[in-house]
Subunit: 289 residues, 2 copies
Amino acid sequence: MTCRADILQGDCLETLARFPEGHFDLVVTSPPYADRRARIYGGVKPEDYVNWFLPRADQFRRVLKDSGSFVLNIKEKVENGERHTFVIELILALRKQGWLWTEEYLWHKRNCHPGRWPNRFRDAWERCLHFTRNRRFKMNQKAVMVPMGDWKHKRLRSLGKNDVVRFASQVGSGFGKNVANWKNREKAFPSNVLHLATECGNKAHSAAFPKALPEWFIRLFTDPGDRVLDPFVGSGTTCVVARSLGRHSVGIDADPGFCAIAKRAIAGSPTEASLAFEAPPPAPSALAR
Amino acid sequence: MTCRADILQGDCLETLARFPEGHFDLVVTSPPYADRRARIYGGVKPEDYVNWFLPRADQFRRVLKDSGSFVLNIKEKVENGERHTFVIELILALRKQGWLWTEEYLWHKRNCHPGRWPNRFRDAWERCLHFTRNRRFKMNQKAVMVPMGDWKHKRLRSLGKNDVVRFASQVGSGFGKNVANWKNREKAFPSNVLHLATECGNKAHSAAFPKALPEWFIRLFTDPGDRVLDPFVGSGTTCVVARSLGRHSVGIDADPGFCAIAKRAIAGSPTEASLAFEAPPPAPSALAR
DNA sequence: AGCTCTTATGAATCATTGA
DNA sequence: GTCAATGATTCATAAGAGC
């Protein structure tokens, strides 16, 4: 199956009005952080961020299926020596708007930005806030199981008593008294912490997140053939990934330059169909450790 | 030097009134989470948590030195399928009280609690909120440096072309690698993500955090001889660690049972002086990956 | 297959200057 | 003074190629 991946230029606040209720299964996005990409988004100030975001989130909610998820990758900046509070204020505001704050996943950035300061260390993590419309929602946990890797094979071959205990606790099965259960199992469920390196080819148009991030959430919260929306699509990563996973997608960006880049990225990217012949699907091994 | 490690029984709200202003250099604690340890703290409900906590935090602030830090290890629980908001509300309230929300460190629990649910994965992280009274505060970054990997030695012998080029072209915000910085450097600075395994030693009195957690913050935010406070000391971990690091400490707990346990733990634990003869100081390698 | 070595890579902060 | 803009400074790692 070849899936549609449409890029629309405009402010998602207006662009989304064209879409019917309950059209999408997943909204996943990394919005312009406050004060970043100032030229394009008019440099929303941190203190205005919530008010800027809310009406857009209202649209996201309208076009999202009842069983859908909304994943928001965001991190507050430091201002005046303090972490700014606009993100946690946004969480509270979104709840008032009717969203459920179901979970907060963490993206641990293995390669974070360099730097050194007297009052803090380098920032190596971002939030992936998971909101839903309902307590019951679609979640395919098996789709993101991680291989246990060499580690398991080496360890299990020679079973010292300590090894068994340590093995069980590291995998998180706890109570892994019955190691035999694990021997035949190749995969383990991940936790709510994702370990991903950032990747960004294009310096001029830095991608917000590495492909593996939307990939993880698309696998987790949608089925093949479902519809994915990224209302701040930037260089197109979400749509490229969605297509390669066999999901339809819509990406919106206010900046014509980004839209052009996104379209090119999609045109040059493999579809699921082509992947099936050319290469194995991306290994989830890189996703969560 | 043998340091005092005093355990006081009582509610820290009242107990701290005996202490003068600016007595402590660091407050580090893992408070009874909402709804946990209900018998002892009267089972503070999540919705009452902020109001319960605030007057105590006011005392913490009073007895903390101007250059001091307050580290709060906490994680919101899931209620009714949602993450509760009492922690982020607490952050906002503490700022209103005059605290600066300087940073949010993460404790990534390498071996988190087992379990499986249809709508979420295992929770593998907790917040370590860092509050200060001032923008300038005591921070000994070198005290928590971690050994570098072996790769460093080889690295210096033959520098990749990329290293040289990027460093040379310091124009245009290219990343530079000042190799001189690496000469004679055996250790690396950590990031704001801590990778620590939980200790599951005594299940009867579930330790709030592993020793390595208070150890890291005590090293980072105090000097030897400084004074550390844990107002919800539980089984005494903070005081045990503080003493072994040569810091004076006060631990407070409302529960006489915990106080007894804490006192025993301290009595049976090594002082810094004894450690100097018996064993090398704890290797920081275990602290942050 | 393991080991060595090479290369790629990043949504940052802070201090200072100018309006 | 307060605010805004600019520039200087800053690491550590993982993945892959090669032997």
